[in-house]
Every structure is written in C-alpha cells, then in structure tokens.
C-alpha cells in the first residue's frame, strides 16, 4: 500500500536514491527532492498566511502603538517624537485618568469575584436540583442571552429614581429610594447587580465543571466522615480549579476593558442618548463614577485627537493586564511543570 504521507516517504526515497544508478529513466533522488520541496512549500503555504496575519494584525499594531506612545500625534500631522512626555502626563498631570483607573480597578476587584462567587453558588445549587433541572438551568442562563445594551437600558429604567418600579415600590413602604445610576456612590454597585443578573455565561461553565467531578471521590470522602465544607474545599475546588482560573483570567481581561455597559448606563441615566453630545459629555456620568480607563483612552484618542497619549495609555493597560494575568497564572501554578 503506498504511503500517503509525503514527509514519511522522504527518508525512504533518499535511501533508494543512494543505491540507484544515475540514469535518466530512474530519478528517485530528483523525485525525492521534488517531493521534499513540494512538502516544504505545502507547509510554508500553510504557515505563511497565519504569519502575515500575526505581523499585520498583532505585531505591527503593537510596535506602532509603542512608537506612537513616545510621540505627539494628533492623527492628521506627522508624529513628533516627545520621549516620555505622554507617560509624564499620564502619571502626573491627567486630571481624569486616576479616577478612570480606580473605577476600572473596582470592576476588576469587585465585579469579577462577585460574579464568579454568585455563578459558583448558583451552579452548586443547580447540581443538587433533580426535578425540572433543565428548566432552572435555562432560567438562570437566559439573561446572558439578552444583548448587553438592552440589559443596561432595562436596568436603568428599572432603577430610575423618579419613575422606576423599584423606587415606586420602595415609596409604597415609606422608603425614599436612592438615586441608583444617578448617584456616584451607587452607580457602580448598580452595574454590579446587572453583572450578577447576567452571570449565566460563567455559571454554565462552572455547572459543566461541577458535573464532571468524579462521584466516587465524594463517596470515599463520605466514608471517611468528611463534612460538606471539607468536601467542597478538598474535592470540588481542586477539581474545578482550571475552570476557576480560566474564568478569573477572562473575567479580569474583560473588566480591564469594561466599556459598553458603563457607557450605555451613563448616557441613558443622563437622558442624553445621542445627537449632539460627544463622548466626553456622555461617558462617566454621574460625576465620572462610571468613567473607565478604556473609555478615557477612547475619548483621548478619538475625541480629543491625542493619539500619542492614547497609545501611551494602551501600553500601560497592556503591561498591567499582562502583569495581572502572569500573577494569576503563577499563583495557580500553571508555570510549574509537573515532574516525577
């Protein structure tokens, strides 16, 4: 049976060519070379396209961004090299970047763990539910299917201090409801409620991981008299730790880039859903409490035309994101190679 693998045929062809006289009738060596060349071209053609993509859409933008971060670039003129001036402005002069970074940090430190904890809690409850399990799983997953913009708009109307049903209900009990999305101290927690409501995407991954934990481990632990807490600590958590890590890493990256939900909440709560209001007037309401780092970067780059400065902000974000992910992975032992 002929060997279908061209790479596997190469040594055999070479061996055959070594013993065959160099006659025009039989050119196994040349044929072998041709096959080798064809095989290399075939591999090369498969590699070259991804390589072009890598250079064009990752390496070039990365290098360009790094270069622009050292320039004064307003999009229309030539970039002028200004050394570390953008970084100096970022760390010592920009009046709004500190607040934007703190807001983003809030979402990383509060939103991500709370979403993970609530998703895990719901997933644990769902694994115990035997009757109508499909119905409950679907019910908790459904909010994740609603487009984020629609969810935010719905939540802002729900929590409208003047006309929303939540405060109307509170007033019936004699409680003067808070300003929710219109109060700088409550706008982020209001978005947290939205984030928890939409946790179906994380919950479904946890649910799959929990259902995958071997039952015999629980049975053995029960025989040894382990409590529910001990079973969770020593069986459940180690088994689902890769999924927890995955969820933490993707959650942190998403939180560092948090943009849409906060932007929509700001513009809807502000009563300015468009037309003349530029992003610098729409984003951040109320009182910059929902202004995130990426929003400010967008405003600087495409509203204020400070492309060089926006590039410096992007570099800092890249470094911070890489550092946070490296710490997460290192703590989870992903860099440790399991040995004997």
């Amino acid at each position: 049976m002929p060997d279908a693998n061209p790479i596997a045929t190469v040594p055999r062809a070479r061996a055959a060519a070594h013993h065959t006289p160099n006659t025009p009738e039989a050119h196994p060596k040349r044929a072998g070379r041709r096959r080798t060349l064809r095989s290399r071209l075939s591999i090369g053609s498969m590699v070259i396209l991804p390589l072009i993509g890598l250079v064009a859409f990752f390496l070039y933008p990365l290098c360009a961004n790094l270069y622009y971060s050292f320039t004064n670039y307003d999009l229309v003129g030539s970039p002028k090299w200004i050394g570390l001036r953008n970084y100096d402005y970022l760390f010592t002069q920009d009046p709004r970047v500190g607040g934007a970074a703190r807001n983003t940090l809030w979402f990383v430190v509060i939103l991500v763990p709370v979403r993970m904890a609530s998703s895990l809690g719901i997933a644990l409850l769902l694994t115990r539910r035997k009757r109508a399990a499909g119905f409950w799983r679907t019910l908790f997953y459904l909010p994740a299917l609603v487009p984020p913009v629609a969810s935010v708009v719905g939540f802002v109307f729900l929590f409208n201090p003047g006309t929303g049903p939540i405060n109307t209900l509170l007033r019936k009990f004699g409680i003067d409801g808070p300003l929710w999305f219109n109060d700088p101290s409550l706008s982020k927690p209001s978005l947290l409620l939205l984030g928890v409501w939409m946790m179906g995407d994380v919950m479904v991954i946890f649910l799959a991981a929990l259902l995958d934990v071997p039952k015999d481990q629980y049975e053995a632990a029960e025989l040894d008299g382990a409590s529910a807490r001990q079973k969770f600590r020593f069986i459940t958590l180690p088994n689902i730790s890769p999924v927890l890590l995955f969820s933490a890493v993707t959650g942190v990256i998403a939180a560092l880039q948090y943009f849409t939900e906060a932007a929509v909440a700001s513009s809807v709560a502000n009563g300015k859903t468009g037309i003349d209001a530029g992003p610098d007037r729409l984003l951040g309401y109320p009182n910059d409490s929902l202004l995130t780092y990426t929003q400010w970067m967008y405003v600087q780059g495409f509203n204020s035309f400070q492309l060089g400065y926006a590039a410096a902000m992007a570099v800092v974000l890249f470094v911070v994101a890489a550092a946070v992910i490296a710490v997460l992975l290192r703590r989870a032992g992903m860099f440790q190679q399991k040995g004997a």
Partner: protein
C-alpha cells in the same frame, strides 16, 4: 524534579520571531512618516468651466442628509460636468481619520468648536480663493467669520449655526403672574423658585428652571456665554482670573441649594429623554429651559399645542455681558489640502456658504440659523416669532462662542467636569479649584503643543 523555566524555543524559531518583530518595527517606522500637505498655488482667475468628481463628507443623517443632498443637486445642475459624491452620517473623528489616511476627501463639513483646532491644518487656506472671487469676510455674521479661522488661517467658512436662548411656557408663567421673560439670572432664579411646585411627599412636581450643569444644554459654554466670562488669555487658560466665572458658579451653586441637589437629581432622572417627545419642556414639567433654536422645530412636530415663547437667555447682572446675544456654535466647511479637484471643491464650498438661495434653503431645511448676512435678511427664510428670536440673537454683537483650540472640546469638558462635581458639594475654595481647572487645561494644551 520540577523546573520553573519554560522550554526555550528552538533557535530557528527564535530567529523567525526576531525577524517578524523587526519587520513589524520597520513597517511602523516606514508608515509613520505621513506629513500634512502644503497649500498649493491658486489660479489667478476662476476657471470658466468645472468638471470632475468632488467627494463631500458630512455628519448629517436622515432628514437632514436629504437637505444636504438637495443642495448638492442644485449645485450639480449649475455645473453639469461636476459629480458630487456625498458621504453622509460621518462624524468629525471619522472624517479626520479618512483625511489623515489620505482618503478621498475634497470637501469636509465639521464642527467648529470640537474639531477645527485639529482639522484646520488639513484644510486649504481659503483666503486666496476668497480674494480672487470677491468673497468678503464680512459677508458672514461677525462671530462666525472669526470662529471658522484658526491661528490666522482661513481654513473654513461657516454654513449654519446653533444659537442658544431661553424657552418659556407662557401658560405657566401667566398662571404665576408673569407676562415677560427674565432678563437677568437673578430674575430667572426668582421666577423659577416661584414656578416650582412640590408634591405632598416633598418631591418636585413642576420645576421652574433646572439649574444643574449637565441637564440638557446646561454647560459651562452655554451658561458662560451669558456672563461675559474669559476662557483663555494669550493662549493659556484664564478661568481663575475671570471674576465672572466665580460669580456665575457661586450663583448656580446657591440656586441649586435653594431647591436641593438630591431633589433636583431625582426629578431630573425621572424626566424623558431630551430628544424624545417626552422632553420635559415640551410636556410642561419644566417651565423655562436653556435650549438651541432647533427646539422650535421639535415643538412644531412633537408638541404643536404648547404655548411658549423664546427670548435671549438672561445675563449675569454687572458682568458686562449685554442682554440680547448669548452662546453660539457653528458648522464649518472647507476644502481638504490633498483634494485632487480643488477648484470644483471650492466652488461647492462657495455655493453652500455664500449663495443666498442655497443658504436659505439649507437653514429652512435643517432648521438652523444661517450665518450668511444676506440669507438672514432674505424674506424666503421661514421664521416663526419664536424662531426670529434666535435669528436676532445670532446677529447681536454680544453673541459669543468658546475659543477654538488644539484640544477641541477638552477645554469646555474640563470646566464641565469641575462644575458638575462642584455643584454636588458644599461649595467653598472656588478660587483654588478654578486655578486647578486652569492647570488642567494648560497641561492638556502643553501636551498638545509638545515638541
């Protein structure tokens, strides 16, 4: 045994990686050298026949885009060999990006205050064309002719303008015993407090005037325009040195306290969207409001039974600001430096800005105020009594606008940001905080001017 070090990639792979990075870095340096084109020579005489294609980019959408299209049709009828390709619905940032990347832009229509400071250097100097074709600067209302040039370069001309003033509900004012609108901010406050009604639970029922910065068109630019404030001096921020700013902000802060910040926020949050038929002035929940001339058209369409009047916005008494003018802004239009058909592009710009019939048609269609003096005086300009207020305000010598700078809207946004925060708190330290605003604006300007 464990190893903390990842396995190093084989040498050929490392070499390939280094090559790719070098390639990307080389491409970065090669592609980053784009430069702004220079103004080319202008023919001594205007061509007698125009031909070719002109690419027009603007930000208007829907109904307003159709108005622009209609003006373009008229232009094409005058110049049958010129074809205008219209790119509607393009925001200023998008147009600027297209221009910077060498895209096909001949004529660009943008916003003066937000964009001109950046875009001006990509636009041709129109002064030689204007001299040659006999278009005088004073064909336009003074403030607009001034605002559409930047650092001495006439890079654009004004098309239409937005003029801000006071809208008042005549029925609610009459019920409160008022027959005329307020002329000073103190009068506005007194009337607003009298017009404000409260529900049994203490919340606001009807609001006389909403003094919160950030509410609809209440911005530092529009309110500052009523108080004769100074924004900049010798190119630097000068808000702390302007006593009018301190007086205006103190007045507003005091006004907010008289009603209650939380009550105002709760009331404001429960109002309909500014641009919907639920606009609080249109549905009678707010008796007086600061708004642009476009509201006349919105009311005509969405609340035709509303009994209302318009007037110039009240001024800060003793500030030196004369009653009758107020804050204005404009859309500007210019010819891209890289245009391959500058004469036809200039002809289109000239037609849209200096032809009386075209300017009137544009203003009637867009429901904006013309900037061309002959269009303002034209009997064909459709103007209800309410709309007439804004036409007169646009021509008033006290009309003003925020300065055009390299940082665009960052100038006013920095002030808005401070003021929004200040109105929340208990006040105090105003001078020091205005000095901080100056520092922030100067730092932003410094970064933009860095060499």
């Amino acid at each position: 045994m464990t190893s903390a070090n990842p396995i190093p990639p084989p040498r050929p792979l490392r070499r390939a990686g280094a090559l790719l990075i070098a390639l990307a870095a080389g491409a970065t340096l090669a592609l980053s050298g784009c430069a702004v084109a220079e103004d080319g020579p202008v023919a001594a005489a205007a061509p007698t026949h125009l031909s070719g294609t002109v690419q027009l980019w603007h930000h208007y959408n829907g109904r307003e885009a159709k108005v622009i299209a209609s003006i373009v049709d008229d232009f094409e009828q005058r110049h049958p060999d010129v074809r205008v390709r219209v790119h509607a619905g393009q925001q200023d940032t998008k147009i600027t990006q297209v221009v910077s990347s060498g895209g096909d832009v001949d004529v660009m229509l943008t916003n003066v205050n937000a964009t001109l400071g950046t875009a001006c250097k990509t636009m041709s100097d129109l002064a030689p064309y204007m001299r040659r074709d006999g278009v005088p600067d004073d064909a336009f209302q003074g403030i607009f002719a001034q605002a559409t040039a930047f650092e001495g370069r006439r890079c654009s001309l004004p098309t239409t303008s937005d003029v801000y003033g006071l809208y008042y509900n005549t029925r609610l004012l009459a019920e409160a015993g008022y027959t005329t609108p307020p002329r000073t901010l103190r009068e506005l406050e007194d009337m607003a407090l009298k017009l404000t009604t409260y529900k049994s639970d203490g919340s606001i029922g009807t609001l006389g005037f909403n003094p919160l910065i950030g509410f609809q068109q209440n911005t530092s630019a529009t309110l500052g325009g009523t108080a004769g404030v100074t924004w900049t001096k010798d190119g630097d921020s000068a808000v702390a040195d302007s006593p009018q700013w301190a007086e205006l902000i103190a007045w507003q802060h005091d006004f907010v306290r008289k009603i209650g910040y939380d009550k105002l926020k709760t009331f404001t949050a429960g109002l309909g969207d500014e641009w919907s038929a639920n606009n609080p002035f249109q549905n009678g929940r707010v008796a007086m409001t600061l708004d642009g001339e476009w509201r006349v058209a919105f009311i005509e369409e969405q609340a035709p039974r509303l009994e209302y009047g318009t007037a110039p916005f009240p001024v800060l008494a003793g500030s030196g600001q004369e009653y009758g003018g107020g804050f204005v802004s404009a859309a500007d239009i210019g010819v891209a430096k890289r245009s391959g058909n500058k004469e036809a592009a200039w002809a289109l710009v000239k037609y849209m800005t200096t032809d009386t019939d075209a300017a009137v048609k544009l203003a009637n269609g867009l429901k904006n105020i013309p900037t061309l003096k002959s269009a303002v005086a034209s009997p064909a300009l459709q103007a209800s009594p309410q709309y007439r207020t804004f036409i007169e305000a646009s021509a008033h010598p006290a009309g003003n606008t925020s300065p055009v700078t390299e940082i665009g809207s960052t100038l006013t946004a920095t002030m808005d940001d401070f003021w929004t925060d200040y109105q929340r708190g208990s006040g105090g330290n105003l001078k020091r905080r205005l000095e901080k605003v100056d520092t922030d604006i100067d730092n932003a300007l410094g970064l933009r001017r860095a060499k």
